[in-house]
Symmetry: C2
Subunit: 223 residues, 2 copies
DNA sequence: TGGGCTGTTGGAACATCGTTCCATTTCTGT
DNA sequence: ACAGAAATGGAACGATGTTCCAACAGCCCA
């Protein structure tokens, strides 16, 4: 009779996609995108990687589900009884704040602009754009232009999300600005000018300015 | 005397970062981002992976160098004697065409918005924005808003670049649109409306429309 | 001319990772 | 009670980025 023939204790609480996604989000928030491995996830859930694959297709699907879970929460909270322009600003800022709080979402959104989480944002924004009442073709151009603002900050924070965990946010920007300052003054006069403002600038404010720019463009072209 | 003690023939032409980047671009263009492995690269260059690491820091640096090489070529070709708005359109379309021709650049640009290749584009656009003559702070907001248009299409093509190589471009869009058509009509009314237009739309035209929207916004706010 | 020294090369070896496979356990309906 | 289906845990596979190191080439200086 083999001494060791029995398995380890089976978990009492059942595994489920929801529980897996929840654990994945905890890992992502704590240690960034690189830390989300099936081994780490299996350890945290006290199971094996095979069991996880029963509930989730692959790593990409897991990341998409994690991003969708958070974006869904943010988008459902947005209530709007104001005029469309203000509603659009509220939605966009909601997306911004989510990306800011969970930088790995930036990488996920900009990595696949047609995943469900992006659709959620697009639907929210698109509905408000519809209320502005412009021709059909212009409708989609305007919505995707607004989406570009969101995907733009997503990409910016995606880069920061891949950084080692200890790096400070402001230190990151300062380091970038210092790199820019070393560029050839003739070839990169504009970028060097920008570098001076980079460390002290407000991400959120700049994001909002971009959205307002697009809104102003919509207003001026069709109204 | 061991029969096999001599090494393989050493290459006559010297290895160099330029030669490595060139070979990397060939692989990327031929088989997409996933195909660029150090093993494949070493085989194509008839050398070992260690030799490549002597010239290139790591895979990320290699991809950045490849993207920069192509973007540098595109940006240097842009000649402009027209008014700033037209010049901006020309630059943006140049970036668009580069991304369209080499979809892996999309993944690279949107994956790290502060790499050199992106700076090149930003410098080109920023200089033209300067010529418009607006206040300092607005300058950077306007430039980054225009960059968002570029990073937006970059992200869109990045997704397509990760697809299996045989997939057609239009088939990809059609498949996406079909997926959208299956969504809940109540929750996703806007996206479903968009799905109808997706397969037949012109990427380049929509990109230009986004740029024009931002340009119109700039015009309407500061002039 | 010869002998080290530095820059360079090729390829084996290492550490991980995503994913697959499968023996085994648990659940469910009859 | 039992058969089939659902679910589990962990070993094993194949591939990748990266590191390491023994060997080599060209060069300067004695």
């Amino acid at each position: 009779m083999p001494f060791n023939s029995q398995r380890a204790e089976r978990r009492t609480d059942a595994l489920s996609k929801a529980r897996i996604v929840e654990a994945a989000i905890q890992i992502l928030d704590a240690d960034g995108e690189g830390a989300l491995t099936f081994r780490a996830l299996a350890t945290r859930l006290a199971t094996g990687s095979g069991a996880i694959y029963w509930h989730v297709a692959d790593r990409q699907a897991l990341l998409a589900a994690a991003a969708d879970h958070i974006i869904a929460g943010v988008m459902s909270e947005v209530t709007m009884r104001s005029k469309p322009q203000d509603a659009i600003r509220t939605i966009a800022l909601g997306a911004f704040d989510a990306i800011y709080a969970h930088p790995w979402i930036g990488a996920q959104l900009s990595g696949d602009p047609w995943q469900h989480a992006v659709l959620r944002i697009m639907e929210s924004i698109g509905r408000q754009v519809q209320l502005l009442g412009m021709p059909e073709a212009a409708l989609f151009n305007a919505t995707t232009a607004l989406m570009n603002c969101v995907l733009g900050v997503a990409a910016q924070h995606a880069a920061a999300a891949r950084l080692p965990r200890n790096t400070e946010r402001s230190a990151h920007l300062t380091a970038i600005a210092e790199g820019w300052a070393l560029l050839d003054p003739l070839e990169y006069s504009f970028v060097r000018r920008l570098a001076a403002q980079l460390p002290g600038h407000d991400d959120r404010e700049q994001f909002l300015a971009g959205v307002n720019l697009v809104l102003a463009g919509i207003q001026s072209i069709w109204f």
